[in-house]
Amino acid sequence: MRAFAQLLEDLGYIQSRNRKLSRMVAYFRSTPDPDRGWALAALTDGVPQAVLGRLPLRRMLAELTETFIDPVLYRLSRDYVGDTAETVALLWPHRTAAQDPSESPAPEPPALGLGAIVHAFSNCDTTAQSTRLLGTLLDHLDTQGRWALLKFVGGAPRVGVSARLAKTALAEAFGHDVAEVEEVWHGVEAPYTNLFAWLEGKGPRPDVDGLPIFRPVMLAHPIEDDDWKSLAADDFVAEWKWDGIRVQISARGGQVRIFSRQGDDISGAFPEIRLVFTSHDCVADGELLVMRKGEVAPFNDLQQRLNRKVVTPRMQSQYPVHVRLYDLLFDGKEDLRPLPFTERRHRLEAWLQREKPLLVDLSALVPFASFDELNRIWAGTRAEGIEGLMLKRKESAYHAGRIKGLWYKWKRAPLTLDCVLMYAQRGAGKRSSYYSDYTFGVWRMTQTGDQELVPVGKAYSGFTDEELRHLDKWVRDHTTERFGPVRAVSAGLVLEVAFDAVQASARHKSGIAMRFPRIHRIRWDKPAAEADTIEAVNALLPQSERPPN
């Protein structure tokens, strides 16, 4: 527990990604099984609650703490600290002899290893037993250890490490690529002893075929102006890039799971799609969309369906979802990924012909003879739900990750508006000494006929380090008010902001929200009074979302 507790604590404070990585690498290399596997579980999907016996942690802690602390003092402490596990860890009386800090710590008894702790909890038959066990463990740990234990048994510790970063560290620790870990990840279980054995070269690769697991996805590069001259139109096919979310549907022997691009299991939110695929055996790649009468609905509608654990039938009929497929990774047990795109495409078309699944269609190819022609086709298209074009190399196999030269995304030239800087906030990590997050607004007429600025978005990218230094100085020199890490500035700097679209939003004071705003240019030269107005922003909304004039 001591090594794990130190790991968690360090990860919580380290800000640099690379340093977090090397901290985890060191831990995975130096910690024995099964402890490192349980730590990996805590840092990724959480320690499975079923293994621990679904502990009613809150109730157990209430029972344990009421024996030594006044409820009023507990409540005041909890309110101040803001986290139950941390509060209990800090409050817990030191029952073991306090250690002389000048001495090196005594070796930890094996019963305090993560593996032993999991084992002990899984052996408890009643909550009363689990509660006693928890109390005994807390008695034997120091503050840091108590905190880590409670975070461990409570599920996700939230120490600023994504599951992806933990897996990257795991792969790096043993000289593998993270894609290899992702490939088997959903087919292995905590404490991942077989996974570690394989990565260390001491065992076979875990057998994951036949399981409905996530396969790492192939990603596209944004196309740059310089790319065109090295590309031949003949080598590529084009597809529309749909404004939904990329999903992978993995169907095996009646079990179906739907994954996001990052491998998060989002099956729960889309029961109807799951149902459709129970009678199929495949791994398919496509876009999840809300569609009504064959028309793609705005992204906002899809958002109503995301991040939900349960979906009511009403939600299902109000926001009907649909999958538009563009690739087939497995047909039955056959792995199609080594095949060139064109062949996979034939297999996908044949598969759809054969299986005719409901709520699923094919993402059409856009035929073109030259890139110029493609450009013209695209310029003439203003359909809802199209975010851009995908260019895919015909002979390319399906490779995990983002490999240069194979797939490109070609988005519309962004929209831009001249906005006025209103607030600046300190950045995170390396940028913490700079005001690097900018909230900007446009002019709006008040009831009394004055012009006021109303915030329309926030951006923290799109400028060079040099520009950041200038912006930072400007913010410091023009501060009118400070609230914690935020400074309000006088209306004096125009930012040309690029974004992909605007949407109506009830959550924003201005009534609109920008998609992917970034600083396009800093208009040091432009007077703030000449920046854009809210009317100019509203004109960019889709017709149906525009406020009445």
Partner: protein, 342 residues
């Protein structure tokens, strides 16, 4: 209980908060007032306790030296030093200053009137601090206490432990400068002294704001070892070196000159992870110059005081604790005494 004691007027008739701070009517003076007054007794030099503009100031010689350094020699009409342990009569009361263990020169104000004793402790701690005289317990009838860390979650680890943590990080990451944010009066010098005691002998670099107070400590006999003002250091990134600075400088432009700095912060608030993260601190050092919860509770009990007044901090938690343990507690909520100094 003697006849004399029974005859004494209740404390609140001659010691009470007014619009300028805590006022001792029987002695005609305020203690750490936040507004200019005619006569002030100052417990210690932190800015929320020692302010400029009073007519006459009574304090320990060290506190007067601090006030001279920070506020100027003209910051009060007159300064009267009262060394620890000496008694002075002010109108109807006897006044004595006793070490509070908070920072150099910090004192508890012991006030006696007709055999009744009140102790106004200012800020205090019981933990080891090589830069000042340790807290002395004075049995009393009324104890006036701070409550900065008055929540049971504040049980600070020994500060020596935190100093070793800092040195360990320096050893592990010699390619990075270590910036330690610490309050300039007291905390900074204590941190320096703690790492010296832990065996660190290299020069320690100082932000400009820390220089004069470190010199003052040295002049008062607190040896801090080799110190270098950062601006005087050769242009370099101070990789592997220890730099002391005010907490605010950790996130200012000043910090950019250093090699990929580790930002540390020495404060009792660092016990709470959320507070440390909020400040973007990579190496939190739980070092407090205020009593933690067990110290507060133990000190109050040891004074034997039947009545406790709480000046500033978490008076809700401490008041609740005392009233459920048979001690009469009252929250004064004195304005202007804040947590700035930690």
């Amino acid at each position: 209980m003697t006849a004399l004691r029974r005859a004494a007027a209740p404390f609140h008739t001659w010691l009470y908060p007014d619009d300028r701070g805590l006022y001792c009517a029987a002695g005609g003076f305020h203690i750490d007032p936040h507004q200019p007054v005619e006569r002030a007794v100052i417990t210690h030099g932190h800015s929320d306790h020692a302010r400029a503009g009073h007519g006459a100031v009574l304090a320990t010689p060290e506190t007067i030296a601090v006030m001279h350094a920070r506020l100027g020699k003209e910051s009060a009409g007159s300064f009267q030093p009262l060394p620890y342990g000496e008694t002075i009569t002010l109108s109807e009361v006897q006044v004595r200053l006793v070490p509070a263990g908070h920072i150099l020169g910090s004192a508890q104000v012991v006030i006696e009137k007709q055999g009744c004793r009140a102790v106004v402790s200012g800020d205090y701690k019981r933990a080891h601090d090589p830069t000042c005289r340790p807290f002395e317990l004075v049995p009393c009838d009324l104890f006036v206490t701070e409550a900065t860390f008055a929540l049971p979650v504040f049980q600070h680890e020994p500060a020596e432990h935190e100093a070793r943590k800092l040195l360990h990080s320096l050893e592990e990451q010699p390619e990075r400068a270590h910036l330690v944010g610490a309050y300039g009066l007291g905390k900074c010098q204590r941190m320096i002294k703690l790492v010296r005691e832990a065996g660190y002998e290299k020069p320690i670099y100082l932000h400009g704001a820390m220089v004069s107070l470190c010199e003052l400590y040295e002049a008062c006999g607190v040896a801090l070892g080799p110190l270098v003002y950062v601006a005087d250091a050769e242009r370099g990134t101070l990789a592997g070196e220890l730099v002391m600075c005010p907490p605010s400088a950790l996130r200012e432009r000043w910090s950019r000159r250093f090699a990929d700095p580790v930002t540390a912060f020495a404060s009792g608030w660092m016990r709470i992870k959320g507070r440390a993260r909020q400040q973007g601190v990579e190496l939190p050092l739980v070092v407090s110059d205020h009593a933690d919860w067990p110290e507060l509770v133990a000190t109050i009990r040891e004074t034997g005081a039947g009545e406790v007044w709480i000046t500033h901090g978490r008076d809700d938690a401490l008041g609740h604790y005392l009233s459920t343990h048979g001690v009469k507690a009252r929250a004064l909520s004195i304005v202007g005494w804040d947590e700035e100094a930690e």
